[in-house]
């Protein structure tokens, strides 16, 4: 799913004006290439897990990689594309996680499904899994809407603080809702336990791929361009007829929706939800992924989420120095690349292929215009 966002649109229009002889891949071919690659990735992954080349420990870490990719990319909608700074992403993750887990746990009994069904993937379990994730996403989106409408009247620091406050409210609600309602729902401080492990490598990455595709297509559509216009200059966008309040809220809600889905996957992966895990630090952790990868770059979010999830596990032998290394990496990146590792650059596989077909290779001097959007 590593396709470009903006640069491609800019580039193709530039290409069409500059030269007519440039060969282009047609849309079905582009989709086919990407779909085949995704299928190959998932099939190879599944085969390697099946044959034991990827161990169970590595599989769990991979699932977490998928979950954090989704978290980082969804936060990137609000941070990178919309240009706001929300600090409450973990709150949406917990809403989605709790809703999805509770939905699946309650429906599981009604439908008479066992944990085994989630492993074997019986049709009812698959439907329940999808419904649970959607339910989690929708609940998170509703929270995003409730928070977004008042919060997006503010900007910058003020927005950061209000979203931080709302995430704390969500956490405290999860902690105390049982006592207030008088019946067992979230389990309070003890946490929600006994969540069936419905998350596996296959469904995690299918969900991640579908989500990234949806986010990508949204960002390339008219709505996406409106959101980017708001980021670049809100007043100019409004003057050109972009309904800024609507699009800001839309981006925020979509961001919350996918965070909710990631939360649902997380609940199934770990099997326990405790409100304490969704505090301020979790939001910061995800924001760090986005900023490190480059705000506004989907590939950047994907890469940094992958590296920052695997790194602590790979550095397990040096556990004591892990946090120091982490901090030093962040400082170095922010000093030398304040725009993040990839900035707003996004990789387009088909775009690269087109360039190769047309003989525009990196080591050859470009003929006329300087193409800087590599």
């Amino acid at each position: 799913m590593e396709e470009s966002n903006l640069s491609e649109a800019v580039e193709s229009s530039a290409a069409s004006t500059s030269g007519s002889s440039r060969k282009k891949l047609s849309m079905p071919v582009r989709y086919l290439i990407n779909a085949v690659l995704v299928a190959v990735f998932i099939v190879v992954g599944e085969l390697m897990i099946g044959s034991g080349t990827i161990t169970r420990y590595q599989t769990t870490v991979l699932e977490q990689v998928g979950i954090y990719i989704l978290m980082a990319v969804s936060l990137n909608i609000a941070t990178g594309y919309l240009g706001q700074l929300p600090l409450g992403h973990a709150g949406f993750m917990s809403v989605g996680g709790y809703s999805c887990a509770l939905f699946i746990m309650h429906m599981q009994g009604t439908l008479g499904l066992t944990v085994r069904d989630f492993v074997t993937g019986s049709p009812a379990a698959v439907v329940l899994f999808c419904a649970g994730l959607l339910f989690g996403g929708v609940m998170a989106a509703i929270c995003g809407l409730i928070i977004g409408i008042p919060a997006l009247r503010l900007k910058g620091d003020y927005l950061a603080i209000i979203t931080l406050g709302f995430a704390e409210i969500i956490r405290v609600v999860m902690l105390n809702i049982d006592g207030v309602l008088g019946f067992e729902l979230t389990g309070g401080a003890r946490g929600l336990t006994g969540i069936p492990s419905y998350t596996n490598f296959l469904n995690t990455f299918l969900v991640v791929v579908i989500s990234l595709f949806l986010i990508h297509t949204m960002m390339k559509s008219r709505h996406g361009r409106a959101i980017l216009a708001i980021r670049d200059n809100e007043i100019a966008a409004e003057a050109s007829g972009v309904h800024t309040t609507y699009y800001k809220t839309l981006a925020f809600v979509v961001s919350a929706f996918f965070a909710g889905i990631a939360g649902g996957l997380y609940a199934g992966c770990i099997g326990v939800m405790a409100p304490a895990k969704f505090g301020f630090m979790k939001s910061i952790e995800i924001l760090v992924m986005v900023v490190l990868g480059g705000m506004g770059s989907m590939l950047g979010s994907v890469l940094s989420a992958t590296v920052l999830t695997i790194l602590p596990e790979a550095l397990r032998a040096f556990a004591d120095y892990r946090m120091v290394v982490y901090a030093v990496v962040l400082i170095i990146v922010m000093v030398f690349r304040p725009q993040g590792l990839l900035g707003t650059y996004d990789f387009s596989l088909t775009g690269t292929l087109e360039r190769v077909i047309n003989g525009e290779l990196p080591w050859r001097k470009p003929k006329k215009e300087v193409d800087e959007n590599d």
């Binding site: 401080a189 003890r190 006994g194 492990s197 099997g271 304490a276 596990e313 790979a314 032998a317 900035g343």
Partner: protein, 397 residues
């Protein structure tokens, strides 16, 4: 965002990331290459050794490592040395699950862990599917043992302590009791609720229950309401810092009756600082598994060995870690005597059976399991005399 990303930067960056990834993969390969040979038995030890709850994890680790060291010095089990695979989970459920999977791949035959509640439950849920023997030193959450027959704990649970102190209050002839507890704490509320429920069953009158919030330091308001109902004893099932302040403030307000507490009181004397004076504590009681003042021979031997090893006195958690290691290795010993392959499914079952049917003489008392993962073991009731702690009574299982 106007700064475009040029090719040269990209090449540089890919070079750097390739080196980074290569280094990371080498490191992870190094980490993963610890296979156990035939003359050692690999046992996992997990807990939080960094982060907010590290003090508990480290205390448990010291106790467990001491036991394994002693056992290895005595020749191990059937001539096989015990090798500990120690992993930090930072008090986080996600990391705990990763650590568990890593340990299983590393070929451990059983795990001593986890320490705090949420990560313990996460591990117990995964481990139930593998029937991996788990012995926790300190997971008091009721759910920990509910996922399968493979999970055991060395500590007593919060409800058990509440019930025990209610029975103790009755045996001391107290008629009216009151409670003051942290209403936002899992542990405090658990003990308090069980205490109150048991009091009602055995006919003690609970005059008032006063809650306070985490972080409070002034309890005079709650204590005034308690003193107004003239209770014979007050239950304060909190952590020692707050218990000390509660006792001191109650004495200042003129309350002379007894205070009852749970194992959160350990360290109230001889801890990091004095939270209540010796006179104020005189005649108070709390229940606990372990105190260094216990004159039993086993305990004194343990205290001496611990001091020789680490140069400090063991705490309740150290003793529980020591016993958790003893319980697990006791189970492994039984399984070895049956001659099964420990890493097979049968081996795991044999260890679980060995723990469930066996009995070990730990430093926190004789530990047996009666069909569940909760231990059946004696509990000490501690009192204070002239500023030092003293075992008042030993309540049987």
């Amino acid at each position: 965002m106007a700064n475009a990303f040029c090719r040269r930067d990209f090449v540089k960056l890919s070079g750097i990331s390739a080196v980074g990834l290569g280094a990371a993969s080498i490191l992870s390969a190094c980490g993963g290459s610890g296979s156990s040979s035939s003359d050692t038995i690999k046992v996992g030890l997990m807990g939080p050794y960094s982060g907010d709850v590290a003090q508990y994890g480290l205390a448990v680790r010291k106790g467990a490592e001491l036991y394994v060291k002693q056992l290895n010095a005595d020749g191990g089990l059937d001539g096989k040395k015990i090798e500990l695979d120690t992993q930090d989970e930072k008090g986080d459920a996600t990391e705990a699950v990763n650590v568990y999977n890593k340990m299983v791949e590393g070929g451990v035959v059983g795990i001593i862990g986890d320490v705090t509640s949420t990560p313990s439950i996460a591990v117990a849920q995964v481990a139930a599917g593998d029937n991996m023997p788990l012995v926790s030193a300190a997971a008091t959450a009721a759910d920990f043992v509910s996922f399968g027959p493979n999970a055991f704990r060395a500590c007593i649970t919060d409800p058990y302590q509440g019930k025990l102190m209610a029975d103790f209050a009755a045996s001391q002839g107290f008629k009216t009791v009151a409670t003051i507890y942290n209403s936002g704490g899992d542990y405090e509320k658990g003990v308090n609720d069980a205490f109150v429920a048991r009091c009602k069953e055995i006919g003690l009158s609970v005059a008032t229950e006063q809650g306070y919030q985490s972080g409070d330091v002034d309890f005079k308001g709650q204590l005034t309401s308690i003193i107004a109902v003239k209770p014979d004893a007050v239950l304060s099932p909190n952590y020692y810092q707050e218990d000390g302040q509660i006792v001191t403030q109650a004495r200042q307000l003129g309350y002379t009756g007894a205070f009852l507490g749970a194992d959160g009181w350990s360290n109230i004397v001889g801890g990091d600082q004095e939270y209540a004076s010796a006179e104020d504590l005189e005649g108070c009681f709390y229940d606990c598994s372990f105190v260094i003042e216990n004159e039993s021979e086993d305990v004194q031997k343990f205290v001496k060995a611990f001091q020789d090893e680490y140069g400090e006195a063991p705490t309740n958690f150290c003793a529980l870690g020591y016993d958790a290691a003893m319980v697990l290795l006791g189970g492994i010993k039984t399984a070895l005597s049956k001659g099964v392959d420990l890493s097979s499914d049968d081996g795991r079952q044999a260890i679980v059976d060995g723990i469930a049917q066996g009995s070990v003489d730990g430093v926190t008392g004789t530990i047996k399991y009666d069909g569940s993962g909760d231990p059946v073991k004696p509990t000490l009731v501690i009192t204070f005399e002239g500023g030092s702690q003293k075992v008042f009574d030993e309540v049987g299982a």
